[in-house]
């Protein structure tokens, strides 16, 4: 990393850590993971050990919003002017935000894993289910890295849309309703959506309701989701020259 980009990343992290809503969303993400893990084991399927641990990625809506705040928040508060005065070429600012977003997302993913793993162990023990499966470490890795990518995805969406409220609304409605509807009802299509791919990366293997279908293999899901994140980042970088008035 060049010194210049290093300084920009440090600046973005300084701002991210100082933003209360970002900190709250990271914590909320871990809470969501704990709630979903509980539901998965106690309500859905106590035998799917991998899916239970993979709930460590279920905080993704909160983490994605945190990512959106990191970029669109600068337009909302008009602070992007300062960033572009320091770095008038602008693209390095997006690059630094992506790196900072990945770091925030990685932190969120690790926090979620630290909360989810012991909770799932206790829950599985109460159900007399096996506590471990050889696929669990990879599912956890997929969950943590997937969470980091969700934050990056949010950074890119926020930089593209710029209007913070609109970016949050569009991202939530799309991932929750459009993508989950596809995953549930048209899994052949749904598994290729960002949510479908990210879920696959976290070790989620089946679609139970209401149409039978399968998701991508974990590695393929990870690659597809990485692809989405990179395309979103590229679009954000390509549109960064728009006027700031």
């Amino acid at each position: 990393m060049s010194g210049r980009l290093g300084g920009l990343v440090a600046a973005e992290l300084r701002k991210a850590v100082a933003t209360r809503s970002v900190r709250l969303l990271v914590v909320l993400g871990a809470v969501l993971c704990a709630a979903w893990a509980t539901v998965q084991v106690l309500v859905f399927d106590p035998d799917d050990v991998v899916a239970a641990y993979g709930m460590a990625q279920q905080g993704y809506p909160a983490v994605m919003i945190a990512g959106i705040l990191l970029s669109a928040g600068e337009y909302r508060h008009r602070t992007v002017t300062w960033a572009y005065l320091v770095t008038p070429t602008r693209v390095p600012v997006i690059g630094a935000k992506v790196v900072a977003g990945a770091a925030v997302g990685l932190g969120a993913g690790l926090l979620a894993a630290v909360v989810t793993v012991p909770l799932v162990m206790v829950l599985l023990a109460t159900r007399d289910a096996p506590l471990f499966d050889p696929a669990v470490p990879l599912a956890l890795l997929g969950s943590v890295l997937g969470t980091a990518l969700w934050c990056v995805f949010g950074v890119a969406v926020g930089a593209l849309v710029r209007n913070q409220s609109a970016a949050i609304a569009v991202a939530l409605l799309w991932t929750f309703y459009a993508e989950w509807t596809l995953i549930m009802l048209v899994p052949e299509v749904g598994r290729w959506t960002p949510t479908g791919a990210a879920k696959a990366a976290s070790g989620w293997t089946r679609v139970d309701l209401p149409v039978a279908g399968s998701v991508l293999p974990a590695w393929a899901g990870a690659l597809v989701f990485l692809g989405y994140a990179l395309v979103a980042v590229a679009l954000a970088g390509a549109t960064v020259r728009r006027d700031v008035t």
């Binding site: 440090a10 933003t19 508060h77 572009y84 700031v244 008035t245």
Partner: protein, 227 residues
């Protein structure tokens, strides 16, 4: 030294700045005066690379802003006094700028002291008065100790004491040999602060006037003659 030459900037079909030419010399405070909507902010944003012009040039020491190797150490800018994250402290705002511009973060404390805001350094900017925000904006512009200062309505929201303070500050900066360009739509503010004013109206250069006791009359005559 700032040179604006034949600058034209439009937003869609609205022409905000039209064939505008003027220079801002070093060593004095130059006012940039015109009614609301005259194109002052657009001119300054184009100069700072935030908005793209249709044609013409706006150069700082002969370079476009985007081509400056170290913009923060060359130009200090105040564009909007409200442009702060309300949840960040003044110190966080300034330290993030320092990190991005690779300036030692201790400069944050120094400029806060310079604008008499050190006591409020760790308070959230959301609770700042407009005058405090103006001081913080000026502190941000001073971080890189630049030779050129571009200030858009910096006196907006300042009380009489604040305006007095700003005037003293800008005069000292200009006396140091710096180039200082200050916009305002309030003539009396500029008549107190500037050595001369560049007057624009409707995106066009109207005239250039020295600050004299009869500035108001001369200005009004010029504006009326343009209608």
């Amino acid at each position: 030294m700032i040179s604006v030459t034949a600058l034209t900037t439009s937003f869609g079909r609205v022409r905000a700045v039209s064939d505008l030419t003027f220079d801002v010399p070093a060593g004095r405070v130059t006012g940039f005066l015109g009614p609301n909507g005259a194109g002052k902010t657009t001119t300054l944003r184009t100069l700072l690379g935030l908005v793209r012009q249709d044609s013409g040039t706006a150069l700082i020491d002969g370079s476009r802003y985007v081509d400056l190797p170290d913009p923060v150490r060359t130009v200090g800018a105040v564009l909007e006094s409200t442009a702060f994250h309300p949840g960040h402290s003044a110190r966080v705002h300034l330290e993030a700028l320092c990190l991005a511009a690779r300036i030692p973060t201790r400069r944050a404390g120094e400029v806060l002291d310079e604008v008499s805001l050190l006591d409020a350094a760790d308070r959230r900017v959301g609770g700042f008065s407009l005058g405090m925000r103006q001081r913080l904006a000026l502190a941000s512009a001073l971080l890189g100790d630049p030779a050129v200062l571009v200030l858009d309505e910096p006196a907006n929201g300042l009380d009489p004491e604040g305006i007095h303070w700003l005037r003293g500050h800008l005069r000292a900066l200009a006396a140091d040999g710096r180039t200082v360009l200050v916009s305002s739509h309030v003539l009396t503010e500029l008549s107190l602060m500037a050595d001369e004013v560049v007057v624009i109206n409707d995106g066009h250069l109207l005239t250039r006037l020295p600050v004299t006791p009869d500035l108001e009359r001369v200005y009004l005559d010029a504006i009326r003659a343009a209608r």
